[in-house]
């Protein structure tokens, strides 16, 4: 899986590259419009992360180029402007997703994962971690091939954990992934704790190992 990051902020570019490399992706980078244009037209990528606020030439122009070359690459727009117009314009031009800065790398990772799943339909139907199998299409979870009943939120959390397996996830990142912008308003972290506790209990009851590690009640790590 090859990913291209087009981002002029080098610090940001490096973080993304490092995180995605950890996840086993092959990552290439471009720091400006010209480099981006060159790489897009000379290589094949499965996913392109595109900062639309590039200094010389709008990132949206690059997006047009990607679409013109009939590339099969999925495009995720990274934008500092959390403006609706940008989002609408980007999605109209054929971007697949939109992430506004600042974002959690774990969130970006989950978005890339979901995008690649959609793009490559011939991929594995299950997301697997040890004895846990998760069917994204059917929204069902199996432990040792036995189905278990999870709530929608529990499913979302488990999926997020497996995608970001082995990584430390802060409760803020988890909350934002599971509850989105609404969470901002309600601001109740005990709530996540309850959901994760229930998920953990259900998994263990079904005979799974306890993979969810708590870090001082501040974050979690899903690891073998």
């Amino acid at each position: 899986m090859k990913i291209l990051i087009v981002e002029d902020e080098l610090d940001l570019q490096e973080s993304i590259r490092e995180y995605l490399t950890m996840q086993g992706y092959l990552v290439e980078t471009a720091s400006n419009f010209q480099q981006g244009l060159y790489k897009i037209s000379s290589h094949i990528y499965q996913c392109i992360l595109l900062d639309i606020g590039l200094p010389e030439g709008n990132g949206l122009e690059l997006l047009k180029t990607v679409k013109e070359t009939k590339s099969n690459a999925g495009v995720i727009i990274l934008s500092a402007k959390n403006s609706i117009e940008d989002r609408v314009k980007g999605l109209e031009l054929g971007a697949d997703d939109y992430v506004s800065k600042p974002f959690h790398l774990s969130e970006l990772n989950a978005r890339i994962f979901a995008l690649l799943r959609r793009k490559t339909s011939d991929g594995e139907p299950f997301l697997q971690f040890g004895e846990i199998k998760l069917s994204q299409k059917q929204k069902r979870v199996f432990v040792h091939e036995n189905p278990i009943e999870l709530t929608e939120k529990e499913f979302t959390l488990l999926e997020y954990f497996i995608i970001n397996k082995g990584l430390v996830l802060t409760k803020v990142a988890i909350a934002e992934h599971g509850w989105g912008d609404e969470f901002d308003q309600v601001d109740n972290y005990d709530f996540i704790y309850t959901h994760i506790k229930n998920l953990r209990k259900k998994l263990i009851q079904a005979g799974s190992e306890d993979y969810i590690r708590t870090i001082y009640g501040m974050g979690y790590r899903f690891t073998a």
Binding site: E9, D11, L12, S15, I16, E18, Y19, M22, A80, K81, N82, I84, K101, P102, F103, H104, L105, S106, K153, L167, V168, T170, V172, A173, W179, D181, E182, D184, Q185, V186, D187, N188, F191, T194, I215, Y216, M218, G219
Partner: protein, 424 residues
């Protein structure tokens, strides 16, 4: 009191004594002049009688005359050098009243004899004349006075008209739309100066205001990139397998602090955007579906706290508002009602055509209504330290920019927020 009323009153206050004094002076002056005339007539008459006594009565027969107005008789009294003139009143038998008279008396020499002569003239007619003249003068003065006041009023109104126009424009001045503030040219120097000064001031304020708004938005934008970098670096750092748990803790704490900073920044950016009128709306929108949407989105949080939600819909609450801002408004209000609620607490929502009320129970007591909508105002003793104190400011900003009234009150343990549409 208006300027024109004030000047008119001062004018009146000054004119009334002047007019009264003037009237009195006229009366006294005429009276004096007329009396002088009467005196002259009396002396003239006396001289006629003296002549008559000397010439027409040569035989020196004693002459006597007794009438109400003339008395002439011989007298042994000594001569008077000058005639004696004095006022008197005489009883009029037919009219049964006293009338004012002027009389002249003198002992005169006629030949060898001394005659006493007394002549009286009624002052009644003269007095009447004086009064009439004074009256006429009075009416003339009053008319002049009225006309002056009227003219003063009209002229004042006309002269001050540009001032009132300026004042009217100043009153309607809105920093959001200060561009249209253009004052009329004027021929009166003082007003011209005033308008010039105001124009200058307005354009300066406008410039500063615009710069400030742009600065806020730019600053918030620029902050997003460094925030992203810091956030992501911390996230990378967290993944180091060599890290001890004691090292992970401060990293996550920093990350959470950054997250708060980010939310603060997002809120400020949103407010700056509302200020910069980036959320236009033309169509009226029913708020009820928005309420339903957020009640559904927040359902888990409501269930988690076992909150009871009482909804009363008298009518759909209609607003001309950008759908995004409607979302922000409702999610902030409902979010607060949930966030600050107690376990097993109550939320009451009521919508009418022109108003909406959201009530909630809370651990908090009454909040000072003067401070509640201020930026960064926090109500101290709430356990969750993640509030940035901007939620209500955003609500206030939205209501202010949409000509809505926002009221807060605390009744029977319920925090009550009411939004009232001024012009439904």
């Amino acid at each position: 009191m208006r300027l024109i009323q004030k000047t008119s009153i001062y004018f009146l206050l000054a004119m009334v004594p002047i007019m009264a004094g003037g009237g009195l002076y006229f009366f006294i002056y005429f009276d004096k002049a007329l009396r002088h005339d009467v005196d002259e007539e009396l002396v003239f008459d006396k001289m006629h009688w003296q002549d008559f006594l000397k010439k027409k009565n040569p035989k020196n027969k004693p002459f006597e005359l007794y009438s109400p107005e003339i008395l002439i008789y011989k007298t042994p009294k000594s001569l008077d050098k000058h005639p004696i003139l004095r006022d008197t009143i005489i009883f009029q038998e037919y009219e049964h009243e006293y009338d004012p008279y002027r009389e002249l008396s003198q002992v005169l020499p006629v030949g060898k004899d001394h005659y006493y002569i007394l002549i009286r003239k009624s002052l009644l007619e003269k007095r009447k004349l004086a009064r009439h003249i004074t009256e006429i003068m009075g009416w003339v003065l009053i008319s002049v006075f009225m006309v002056t006041i009227l003219l003063n009023w009209i002229i004042n109104k006309r002269i001050w008209a540009p001032f009132y126009l300026t004042l009217f424009k100043l009153k309607k001045l809105n920093l959001q739309h200060i561009e249209v503030f253009k004052l009329e040219r004027n021929s009166i120097k003082e007003f011209k100066d005033l308008n010039q000064a105001l124009d200058l001031m307005a354009s300066q304020i406008q410039k500063d205001f615009k710069t400030l708004k742009e600065f806020t938005e730019d600053a918030a934008h620029e902050m997003q990139t460094p925030l992203s970098i810091a956030q992501n670096k911390l996230e990378i750092l967290l993944q180091d397998p060599e890290l001890k748990e004691s090292q992970i803790q401060p990293i996550i704490q920093s990350s959470e602090a950054l997250n708060r900073l980010n939310r603060l920044n997002t809120s400020l950016l949103l407010m700056a955007k509302i200020d910069n009128s980036q959320f236009m709306a033309e169509k009226a929108l029913s708020i009820n579906p928005v309420l339903e949407k957020y009640l559904l989105l927040f359902q888990e949080f409501i269930i988690d706290k076992s909150l009871e939600v009482k909804k009363t819909k008298v009518d759909d609450f209609l607003l001309i508002i950008n759908p995004l801002l409607a979302d922000t408004l409702i999610s902030n209000l409902l979010g607060n009602a949930i966030k600050y609620n107690i376990q097993n607490g109550l939320i009451e929502i009521e919508t009418r055509k022109d108003s909406m009320i959201i009530k909630n129970q809370s651990l908090e007591g009454e909040i000072d209504p003067k401070k509640i909508f201020k930026r960064f105002h926090k109500t101290g003793n709430y356990p969750n330290g993640n509030s940035n104190g901007l939620g209500l400011s955003i609500i206030k900003k939205i209501t202010d920019t949409h000509h809505l009234n926002l009221y807060y009150s605390y009744q029977e343990g319920m925090h009550t927020f009411r939004i009232q549409n001024e012009n439904p």
